[in-house]
Symmetry: C2
């Protein structure tokens, strides 16, 4: 599966979530992260997600949405709220969450080799 | 050194660069990537950068800037232009570059442990 999100022409919105994991509870975190990816994909206005984590525990996840209202609804989703609570309490040492309006986009893709 | 960018209150701009490396020329790429981080940090309007690459070659780099004009000037920098040319030709299999206006931000940081 491609790690790239297939997004429409701008404008749309990005939630840039930069985070540093604690070393705690990797199984619980992994299960919840998978569940949140699955759940987000079914929400209104969801456009895609791109996510990477380095060996040092620092990660960036960018999710893409049609509107600020869709982002607010996802933030308020009851299962996501519980994930956020556990993230604060247990899984994240530090994070920065930025909501941004995508205004320009360009891409490059070479044939598979 | 912290992997987080220390950005001011919004609004400001983010360049979200999602990319997949080719397996080619890791030394050349690494040297150029380091040089571009150093060079970007000295440009007008530069606010910070956050960057992660996974073991599978997929990476996300987000750089933060004061304005669209600052981003355009950095894109046009002669040394950066050469890096972009080599990236296209040699180092990247695929990329997506999105320019976005950061409108909201929040953060969390726990005491070191």
């Amino acid at each position: 599966m491609s790690p790239f999100a297939e997004t429409p022409e701008p404008p749309y919105y990005a939630v840039i979530f930069s985070n540093l994991r604690t070393p705690d509870d990797p199984e619980g975190y992994g299960g919840m992260a998978d569940r949140m990816v699955e759940l987000a994909a079914g929400q209104p206005g969801y456009l895609g997600v791109e996510s990477v984590r380095g060996a040092d525990g620092f990660g960036i996840t960018v999710s893409y949405w049609r509107s600020l209202e869709d982002i607010a609804a996802w933030k308020a989703h009851v299962e996501h709220q519980e994930a956020q609570r556990l993230g604060h309490q247990r899984w994240y040492q530090q994070f920065e969450l930025r909501v941004a309006r995508v205004e320009q986009a360009r891409s490059m893709k070479k044939p598979a080799r």
